[in-house]
């Protein structure tokens, strides 16, 4: 997976320099959390549902070999070709093979994070194919030549004005107003309809794979997934091994959790189950269907201390509730997976060397874990990744040395008291009249953006000791 995650701090600082984008994100940061929180509250015992689905997911992952084999057998019985891809390149090549075999020219795609992860579009386009993203958000960023900023709402960073300008520039419909969102949606529908009808191959993702019947489940709010799946003669489902659930009822339980956590709806407008190619008497549907299951490091995650991360159902609630994500924006993470889930997943799918900034993009505020429908202890996993950075010498040496020294000093109270007493008394003398210090040696990270409030005269332990001694005399 290609990432530019180690420039997170610089990328975030740039993002903070753009007032309009900051404002758009602030609106989302205020709007999205209550949407989820209200839906969870109205459900009743949402925590019980979370615990149930977590148990199901854990069970499925612990028995992944069994359920994958069952899924594969069922899906083949339904008439699907089932492929396993160890890496992103393997998935892309499998798709290319299918495309070439059918001499396809045009591809209509539903929203798929897996193909974002593998960079499929660029591969298909350089092979001369026309790829059209049909999820409205994905379509917008494809037209703008951008990457998703959010795993569920890829174009959430775009304001209505920007989208209007984009459509006026990209769609050749002459002078027109496009005065509001419905007008823009209507125009996108008109454009996309042609692409659905012209496509030789449809590509979609999956929210779940059901082992007992070999179906894949997909949720959308636009119905574009169904058009990609049913209109072109060939369908390719690109998904990953960790989407497996044992039973149809598990997918239904997961669905109730997923949609409330994502958009606050009880259910999405479209929830579809794809079984396979059209049968003899079916009036429509694809004649050939493929399912490609990507591993791309997931087996390694399953065997690691980070296996809880595979419980993720890609709802995006952790992004919406993360103040660092809302401040920095999704693009700063330099990965298709941003926010708290992305800060865990990105280093695991690429490498800690390439993404060691991300586990530090966290104040340990715990809001992500509070809302994660899959009960993933995200702050703990992020801290464990920081532990690995320390162990492997990936974090800055002066930080490691400074904190190690501090922890050592803290175990030697006499010396600690003496040194901190000196520092505090100096800080007090320098800053007592003004109330704050604008510069401090070895603390430029703090003082670059804030003063240090002047300490009182003498530490508590010094003052307390003096008072006790005075009381004893």
């Amino acid at each position: 997976m290609q990432v530019s995650s180690n420039q997170f701090v610089e990328q975030a600082s740039e993002a903070l320099q753009q007032p309009h984008a900051v404002q758009t994100r602030d609106i989302l940061g205020a709007f999205l959390p209550p949407v989820r929180d209200n839906a969870a509250a109205q459900f009743g015992d949402f925590q019980a549902l979370r615990d149930h689905v977590e148990a199901v997911r854990k069970h499925a992952l612990e028995n992944l070999d069994h359920y994958l084999a069952q899924y594969e057998e069922q899906a083949r019985d339904n008439g699907n070709a089932v492929h396993f891809a160890r890496s992103g390149d393997e998935l892309n090549n499998i798709v290319l093979d299918i495309v070439r075999r059918h001499d396809a020219r045009q591809i209509a795609k539903g929203k798929s994070m897996i193909t974002e992860e593998t960079g499929l579009n660029a591969v298909l386009e350089s092979a001369g194919l026309t790829v059209t993203e049909t999820d409205l958000g994905e379509y917008i960023i494809q037209q703008a030549g951008e990457k998703p900023s959010h795993i569920v709402g890829p174009a959430l960073h775009k304001s209505p004005d920007e989208i209007r300008e984009l459509f006026l520039e990209k769609h050749n419909f002459g002078p027109r107003e496009l005065e509001d969102a419905p007008a823009m949606v209507e125009e996108a529908r008109r454009v996309l309809r042609e692409h659905f009808l012209a496509a030789d191959i449809g590509i979609i993702g999956a929210n779940a794979l059901i082992a007992e019947n070999g179906y894949s489940m997909l949720v959308t709010n636009e119905g574009n997934g169904d058009l990609c799946a049913n209109l072109p003669p060939v369908l390719i489902v690109c998904t990953s091994v960790d989407r497996i659930l044992p039973r149809a009822q598990d997918a239904m339980a997961m669905l109730r959790l997923l949609v409330r956590s994502t958009t606050g709806q009880p259910v999405t407008c479209y929830t579809s189950f794809y079984s396979g190619p059209r049968r003899q008497d079916d009036p429509d549907g694809p004649v050939e269907t493929h399912v490609i299951l990507l591993d791309n490091g997931r087996s390694d995650i399953l065997a690691s201390d980070y296996s809880d991360m595979l419980q993720c159902i890609r709802c995006g609630a952790c992004l919406n509730h993360c103040p660092v994500y809302i401040s920095a924006g999704g693009h700063a993470y330099g990965s298709v997976y941003p926010g708290p889930m992305g800060s865990v997943l990105t280093p695991l799918l690429s490498s800690l060397e390439d993404a060691n900034a991300l586990p530090n993009a966290c104040t340990s505020c715990g809001r992500c874990a509070e809302v994660c429908p899959a009960n993933i202890p995200l702050p703990d996993l992020l801290r464990d990744l920081r532990h690995e950075e320390v162990t492997r010498g990936l974090s800055p040496g002066r930080w490691r040395f400074g904190l190690k020294t501090h922890a050592w000093l803290a175990r030697h109270p006499g010396l600690y008291r003496w040194l901190t007493g000196l520092a505090v008394s100096l800080m007090h003398r320098l800053g007592r009249k003004r109330g704050g210090l604008a510069k401090l040696p070895m603390a430029s990270g703090w003082t670059s953006q804030r003063d240090f409030p002047t300490p009182e005269a003498g530490t508590f332990m010094q003052q307390y000791r003096q008072m006790q001694d005075a009381a004893d005399d």
Partner: protein
Amino acid sequence: MTPNLEADSPQSPRYRVALFATCLADLFRPSVAFASIQLLEEAGCEVIVPEAQTCCGQPAYNTGDYEATIPLARSVVAMLEPFEYVVIPSGSCAGMIGTHYPRLLEGQWRQRAQDLAAKTYELTAFLDEVAGLKRDEPSNSGETVTYHDSCAGLRELNIRQQPRDLLQRLCDITVSEMDQTEVCCGFGGTFCAKMPDISAKMADDKLANASQTGAAVLAGGDLGCLLNLAGRARREGADIEIRHIAEILAGETTPALGKPQD
């Protein structure tokens, strides 16, 4: 404000409490520790300040240096476990001991950490739930106060209502609630120094939400957050007084954080 060390201690204190002052209060805001002693004594506690206390180890722990944290955590456990209760004027340090020590330590140390966790309280939780501190006549400074819910206290220890109830009961102060009171202020320990621009943005949001209430005082239960907010408020010229809740409850009159001291 100084504790009344010379007063006769009650015949039999209701609780024998060790105060873990926290490194931030020890070094940068002794008023918080003195106010805590005063409140605990008012609640009928005998307060002991263990001599060897320094820091709970959060800076190294949150940065991922578990190896440097473990020996420090063990010495804190050994220092505090003899006491009936341990009270800490900080949700994040109380959460460190109560939630993270048992996760970090192993074997017999984990058991000892769990035993310690069971009797370790954040200050407002102890005053409200255990000691049930009351006053015959609530003191009232006439201040309007808004309250920032610090993350660790809120999410690890479920501290939300206790500080508000104490402000109401002891000081007749109804908190003027700000928008997004449960969102992080951008401190995050070493986060604020590693990613200062993002941290400053979060602090600005918090200060703006606090200012919008019209409250004169922004109170909280964690000095990390408060130092961050007071430092940012000073840098940006935001006019709000920032104080630890212990200072308000105890009627502490030391200049607020970041204000001139003479």
